[in-house]
């Protein structure tokens, strides 16, 4: 494994150009910008959460354990796509910044990319955590989060190539149980995506949410719409208002 590490370090020095661009739409510039926004929303508090973008056959990933609002382009990992999910040391890193660790979210992001996503966002939003707890208590451990007849539902796709949900539709977001290690969520995420092939998001009990989209704008706006709905749902619950009409 030591030799793999050495190789990675060597590669790193060669591939700084992968994260250097004047284009604000380049993934290496977008990821820090998105993370600053997510920090201000309270989604990536205390180095939590993460973001990844697929750009052609390159996967750009925010590193583990950094202050997300301070992240720089040079901190970003790049994987050659496709790549192995496991074991981690066989993943095809073509840029791996010195002194930083790859995100433990990596296999989950890769799962979203296998599913056709162009961007995947992971937040620790408190509203997401609270709805996973409320659903568990009110409807049991196997229930999804469901909400209907709220305009913002239209911000969420009905499924790949199926357009957006309508006002009278019920939005369902599956919830998986948390695990001791983030990587171990991968099989739960895969199972949820198989069971709910139309979903663009999976809640993780007592943890947060993974949201993806066909591109950066879609992943981000879908993540915002879901967070809006979770916050609204918590407030509705406090006021005794049911989530499904």
């Amino acid at each position: 494994m030591a030799s793999t590490e050495d190789q990675v370090v060597a590669t790193t020095t060669n591939n700084d150009h992968l994260v250097q661009s004047d284009d604000p739409e380049h993934p290496a510039n977008l990821i820090p910008e998105l993370c600053r926004k997510f920090y201000n929303w309270g989604w990536v508090t205390g180095t939590g959460g993460g973001t990844s973008i697929r750009h052609g056959d390159h996967i750009f990933i925010a590193p583990s354990g950094v202050q997300k609002e301070l992240m720089k382009s040079e901190n970003i990992f790049v994987l050659q796509w496709p790549t192995k999910k496991y074991p981690a040391e066989e993943r095809n890193y073509i840029r791996r910044p010195l002194k930083l660790n790859p995100s433990a979210c990596t296999p989950l992001f890769l799962t979203a990319f296998e599913n056709g996503a162009g961007c995947c966002i992971h937040t620790h939003s408190q509203w997401a955590v609270l709805v996973t707890l409320l659903v568990e208590r009110e409807k049991g451990p196997d229930a999804c989060f469901e909400i209907s007849t709220i305009e913002q539902i239209k911000g969420i796709p009905r499924g790949k190539g199926k357009g957006m949900l309508g006002y009278y539709d019920t939005l369902s977001i599956p919830i998986i149980e948390n695990t001791a290690f983030e990587e171990d969520l991968t099989s739960g995420l895969e199972a949820a995506m198989k069971k709910y092939p139309d979903t663009y998001a999976v809640l993780v009990r007592r943890h947060g949410i993974y949201v993806w989209g066909d591109n950066v704008a879609k992943a981000k706006t879908q993540c915002e719409s879901l967070d809006y709905l979770f916050q609204l749902a918590v407030e509705m619950h406090k006021l005794g208002l049911p989530w499904v009409k």
Copy 2:
């Protein structure tokens, strides 16, 4: 319809000057600036909501489906005033940006302009959504939102040319039912404006609010005052405090 589209595209290229100005008070500069503010207040989350300004015989409208905090002047649609509300393809667009869709709020904005407004704002504020749900449960589907004897009420006009509400007045905001398609709210909005000719805002159940004003500053500050009152009302309800003294 294809030919209409082609014509629009042609027109677009010709009329970029309509949204190019060094004046920060120009509608094409104000709309992006307002949308950035509204994004930070949580009013236009996930591409929701919208804004439109009438400037002489030009109507400037934020496009559909864009991240509101990233909107640029060049993304703005311009209509020649007056124009048809329906059918959409006969509206008199004099600038229609390529690759963007006109806002589904357009006929609602036009309704406000027919009524003399200089600016119309549509938000998905959660406080607005929550008061529509609380009013429905507490007072029934036909009731307005009502609040009295709160200083901020003075920020809302008593009606066109009638000055502002006083502290001892009761503010009433009509609530209309949501529809599957945003455009289909137009007749409900028109009916509410006919029934409540003094109102400068209409709530939409489970959706948000439309607020207008004689000019941009009035529309924006009235929208802020209403949102303040909705948030206060929700907190008052949680604390068991009645809205009308």
Copy 3:
């Protein structure tokens, strides 16, 4: 009265230098900067609220009815100190911007300056409004807001020249009833200041708060500490925690 107006207009043109300074600590620069902050805290939503600073024998006052976050130095009124409170048209304005109205808070600010203040802030904070309603319901219309044994109480003075409150002290803020016109609050404010000579703030039921201090920094930080305590008190009430130990 028309001639007074003409005179004011004439004066205005002559005295622009009163609000032009490169010093960020100059009142004409501080007031817009403070108002931007207050806007972001939700204290001056929709043109509500206001701020005034006494600098030597000049009183600088934010105008009425402007968007507080957009205010500029050139929008600021200047009064020669001392000046009459009533009638308004006999106040000694030495700068009165064209097209703007003087703040209806003016006589209240002048009351604070008569009392030795160097700065006075008026907010419509929702937390302030909510505590006035909770105090009325729980303790009656004549009761003060009271809270004890919270560290942040130390941010409020015990009285002029008496140092700050201690942790074991009880903070008392008088509450006066609102009136139809802001100016008419003046006698209530004067009465409360006579009855509670040590107070640096007076709550106004269903309206907000007036907070003053020996200088700008003290007025602002005292206003922040009070708002912190009001927000905490509302949350404590929701959780069934008493305000006074």
Copy 4:
């Protein structure tokens, strides 16, 4: 004591270079930047709270009683490490800005540094205050704040050199009683650190929290993670959800 003061003043003039650096990572630049962030989170409202960084054998400390979001590098005190905690006038200040007072948090920061910390943060977060009140009422005056099986717990160390807490661990934060004077919290803090040698934070009832870390990034992100957990805990309590599974 007067002569000590004179000496300090003299020293001050000589050592401005200690707080002058172009490096944004220099403590004299980091402290103002952190304080601006903490102000926006509501952690240092009204001059409350504070921050200190140990850099080699220099301790940098934010001054007492300043508006934290306006603090400048030149306002920062510097102590030579090691130094006495008591009496205050024998502390080894090598830079003491004129007209400013040293932070009353100083002996508490020094306690954290004695314990190996590289940075210590003190906030008046309302969420921290509320959990100290809820713990007291629900579990008594000697109980710690405890929460389990929430992902964000992983942002808190298990103890010096013991790695981070796991998802299935229970986080315990000791709570000490507040005192009339901030300095007098020191013995309580020392006792709590002796009793809970693995803790990186101590809550102060009705006051706030002290959080430290091996370096600035760790102290800040641990403080964020704790605040996230306190806010979540308060919301869980409102919703009737238990903190420990």
